[in-house]
């Protein structure tokens, strides 16, 4: 398994180093879009207003949305592009189980993504003047976020495997995700809060906003909820992916149509 991971890291890294323009372009777009929104918001609010904590919350939400988007789309895009170049079948010819391989790939690209995300975060902090704290404890809700995100990634990957074309669904998903992650669900209560806990990634995002934007401490019970949320979605993702693989083999559509 370790060898598999190293192999994937090497491959991802080489492909990035050799053709970095895509990723650099991505960074530029993401930061520019946010800056545009930020400037518009400043204009609307007037020159005297200092956003303070609210800006910090939004920055955290936006960056987490970018991260979640990368992750959730990762597996599906990978499957789609590999189906087009024909290497997908070679992957399924491996004695390693397919979920293992895709997970190793996802982890390998995660390392790259996290670096990019942190870079984006610092750029945004720089240009908007937002101030975030980075306590060590943020690792935990981050991990639960990643678990839930990877669960969704496997679900999207399953769609890509069985339906082959996911381009149509992805934009819808993108915006649903934005709403989910931008809404300050940690301020909700009662039934709305309950629903929020069941939706993927929301508990984790709320916690991260608390930690990074509001400077609060880590609430263990909330972390428990986030962990359950993450584990459940991750498990769901693996199950769905296993089903999708069997379906694709039965229908003989593993490589293409």
């Amino acid at each position: 398994m370790l060898n598999l991971l190293i192999g994937e890291i090497k491959r991802t890294w080489i492909q990035f180093i050799r053709y970095p323009s895509e990723i650099i372009g991505g960074i530029i777009i993401i930061t520019t879009v946010f800056y545009g929104l930020f400037v518009s918001a400043q204009y609307m609010a007037g020159p005297a207003i200092n956003f303070g904590e609210r800006l910090d919350s939004v920055v955290v939400g936006y960056v987490l949305w970018t991260l979640a988007l990368y992750i959730v789309n990762d597996i599906a895009f990978n499957i789609q592009s590999e189906a087009q170049t024909g290497t997908l079948e070679q992957i399924f010819l491996s004695p390693f189980a397919a979920p293992k391989i895709f997970f190793a790939r996802a982890v390998a690209s995660l390392a790259l993504r996290m670096t990019i995300i942190v870079l984006i975060l610092f750029i945004l902090m720089g240009i908007t003047g937002s101030q975030l704290s980075f306590p060590v404890g943020l690792i935990f809700p981050l991990l639960t976020l990643l678990m839930a995100a990877y669960g969704l990634a496997f679900v999207m990957g399953s769609c890509a495997l069985v339906f082959k074309r996911v381009q149509q669904i992805l934009p819808i998903f993108q915006f649903a995700l934005l709403f989910l992650l931008a809404a300050p669900t940690e301020d909700w209560s009662g039934r709305a809060r309950l629903i929020a806990n069941f939706l993927p990634m929301l508990p984790s995002t709320g916690l991260l906003r608390d930690l990074m934007a509001r400077g609060e401490g880590l609430d263990i019970s909330l972390l428990g909820v986030a962990l359950a949320n993450g584990a459940a979605y991750f498990g769901l993702g693996l199950l769905v992916f296993g089903w999708a693989e069997r379906q694709a083999k039965r229908k003989g559509i593993l490589g293409g149509y």
């Binding site: 491959r11 492909q15 079948e89 004695p95 229908k251």
Partner: protein
């Protein structure tokens, strides 16, 4: 040229069968596969059984849509058969993932490789994917690239290589884990003459090293040159399966065709016909025993060509396909 690939003696593959020249590497029995339901039901493969021994090359021929690719994918574990069993060195690729360590496949088209990676990187990566330790994958990679004439291109991204080189590399990648069974789906398709020749030589060498090879192709001359046995499939069923030379022999006559390059005068023509031959223009067709008497009659006419009516695989194939509705 023999490949320095000790196919079976490498320490990584557990020994399943005692090594003998007639070791059966692939045993596929009664494979069936259909798609769709009700009216739209399509039987891609009805009842296909194949057996290949170590070092043997089986050419799998058939018209488009006959079920060749589906069969190959069932053997490789990529498509789940509705019925039947596949056994590679005694292991079932659909149930035991270790079976996949025994198989290498080069599937049809411009595929099987990462375009942004170099040949060496591709070999290392896929080696890792097939559980070959990194260092060994690299060593074998260098050897294979040397053997396939790709050494000077080993640091060039695949997208900059020619089609022929990409195909050779795809075959090298499929061999890095020293499989005992190699599946080649149209290996010479789209290649120019020189690249085709190189691939053909490679296939022969790989078989000589002890690998069993299942090869599908439309190019019957390739099949004729490379295969020990031929299986012809039509509409999901095997309609012929024999050693190649036997099949060709079956369809070949022993008649001679002689081309004189100039018209044969009536006197000679009569004499030839008396002997049992037929004269048409410059050509004589003769199926008797007196070939030398015939040649005496023809003297001193120039003999452009004497050919035995040997069928080639194209003739065999076409007549089988036509005769089997």
């Amino acid at each position: 040229m023999t490949l320095p690939l000790p196919m079976r003696s490498a320490g990584h593959l557990p020994k399943v069968n005692p090594l003998s020249p007639n070791t059966i590497t692939l045993d596929a029995q009664h494979l069936k596969k259909s798609y769709g339901r009700g009216k739209a039901r399509f039987e891609a493969v009805r009842d296909v059984s194949l057996r290949i021994c170590a070092g043997e090359v089986l050419a799998f021929l058939g018209p488009n849509g006959a079920g060749k690719t589906t069969t190959i994918k069932m053997i490789g574990g990529l498509v789940r058969p509705d019925a039947g069993k596949v056994s590679i060195d005694g292991l079932d690729p659909h149930r035991q993932s270790m079976a996949l360590k025994r198989v290498g496949a080069v599937l049809e088209g411009n595929r099987n490789l990462y375009w942004r990676l170099t040949p060496l990187e591709n070999i290392e990566y896929f080696g890792g994917l097939r559980q070959v330790p990194r260092r060994i994958a690299r060593q074998r990679g260098e050897q294979l690239l040397e053997q396939f004439g790709l050494s000077d291109k080993r640091k060039t991204p695949v997208q900059k290589l020619s089609r022929g080189m990409q195909q050779k590399l795809a075959i090298a990648v499929a061999l890095v884990h020293q499989p005992t069974l190699l599946l080649l789906d149209e290996p010479t398709l789209g290649l120019d003459v020189e690249a085709s020749e190189t691939v053909k030589v490679l296939v022969r060498d790989i078989a000589a090293a002890g690998c069993a090879i299942l090869l599908t192709t439309h190019q019957l001359d390739v099949a004729e040159e490379l295969s020990d046995r031929v299986a012809i499939i039509r509409q999901g069923q095997i309609i012929a399966e024999q050693p190649t030379h036997e099949l060709i022999q079956q369809f070949s006559g022993s008649a001679y065709r002689i081309d004189c390059g100039q018209p044969i005068d009536d006197l000679k023509a009569h004499q030839i016909e008396a002997l049992g031959g037929t004269v048409t223009g410059n050509q004589v067709h003769f199926s008797g025993n007196g070939l030398y008497e015939l040649l005496d009659i023809l003297r001193p006419l120039p003999i452009r060509e004497i050919r035995q009516d040997r069928a080639d695989l194209t003739d065999v194939f076409l007549s089988l396909i036509r005769d089997n509705p």
